[in-house]
Symmetry: C2
């Protein structure tokens, strides 16, 4: 097994967090995204969308989409409840993460903390702030009253949402506004093997 | 079971397509999105994100996120392959749909065909055109050589992607540029029970 990994990007990182938690050592193929390494032939051959992470299994099978990879490697572990309502609850959060959370929370962080192009992106950032806030509100709605996102205990849904949430302040979201979310971040970070992101 | 449905919006429609295909009659609770019905108390109580569709089961369980709902109702049918690599392949496409397809293909259609605000949204539309084209390229990469998105025959991944793809021309994407995708749209539309969207 090897993981094509984009370094500081949280999407590959969420797979690494899970593998670390499980004590699985996976060789990394580091891809320098700043040097457009994700557009290289090696990545394009494995994922025509030129996105990371890409997980290559020992038999050559290539998996893409970080949340699909997470679910795949977590199959038959306590991190992925069995099919039926418990798994559906987890899937609701994974789709929420891709559609309602990442496009605002991660994009705001990228613009503000990495590109440093807030002035040129005022309109886009306004959309990120509004919709990112609503995403955190939705998480607070659950986490204000529960320890984890689903009733199945900590799952890959928590890991998937943790990836960008624990560095959301770099995108301008002060987590103190969402105390249930803040407590959940601390609860997750205290689990064995959880790897946090380096900060800017 | 009842489905809170937003009328012309394809995301609820993808659930209706599946239920129709299965011959399941489900009462609809029509929500007038033009009149902001999705912000109503009835919807907010069921989905704090105020998004449709919402599926309410007979025991009162409420499901959200159209792709999670699709997978839930398709469990133990041929439309959802069993856990393991076959299901992971399907999940890759469902996440692709939410992250790389819908935000561009559906948004372009909404701006061009429904809001009629192309002039005010030039920058956003340019991003839609570029990234929506890349999403269709990724589908063509698969569908140019295969009948369905995964090797498991038609699945809910095909239904999920069909919802916005078959009306992509209303967003400015001429499907003639993607012949494998066009053939797949016709193949899907010919299946029993498939419901296409009304056009503008």
């Amino acid at each position: 097994m090897k993981l094509y990994d984009g370094g500081r990007a949280p999407s590959p990182r969420r797979v690494r967090i899970f593998l670390a938690e499980k004590g699985i050592e996976v060789p990394l193929v580091p891809i320098d995204m700043a040097a457009m390494g994700h557009k290289s032939q090696a990545v394009t051959d494995r994922n025509p969308l030129q996105r990371l992470p890409v997980l290559e299994l020992d038999d050559g099978t290539v998996l893409v989409e970080s949340n699909a990879i997470l679910a795949h490697v977590a199959e038959e572990t306590p991190w992925l409840p069995p099919p039926g309502l418990p798994r559906t609850r987890l899937m609701e959060w994974l789709f929420f993460e891709q559609y309602s959370h990442e496009p605002y929370i991660a994009v705001a962080r990228n613009i503000r903390a990495y590109q440093g192009t807030a002035a040129q992106n005022a309109e886009r950032l306004a959309r990120c702030d509004e919709n990112g806030g609503r995403a955190l509100d939705a998480m607070e709605h659950r986490l204000g009253a529960h320890d984890w996102l689903t009733d199945a205990g900590p799952t890959v849904a928590d890991l998937a949402l943790f990836a960008y949430t624990h560095v959301a302040d770099e995108g301008g979201f002060d987590l103190a506004r969402w105390p249930g979310v803040s407590a959940w971040v601390k609860r997750l970070a205290a689990l064995p093997g959880i790897v946090t992101l380096p900060r800017r």
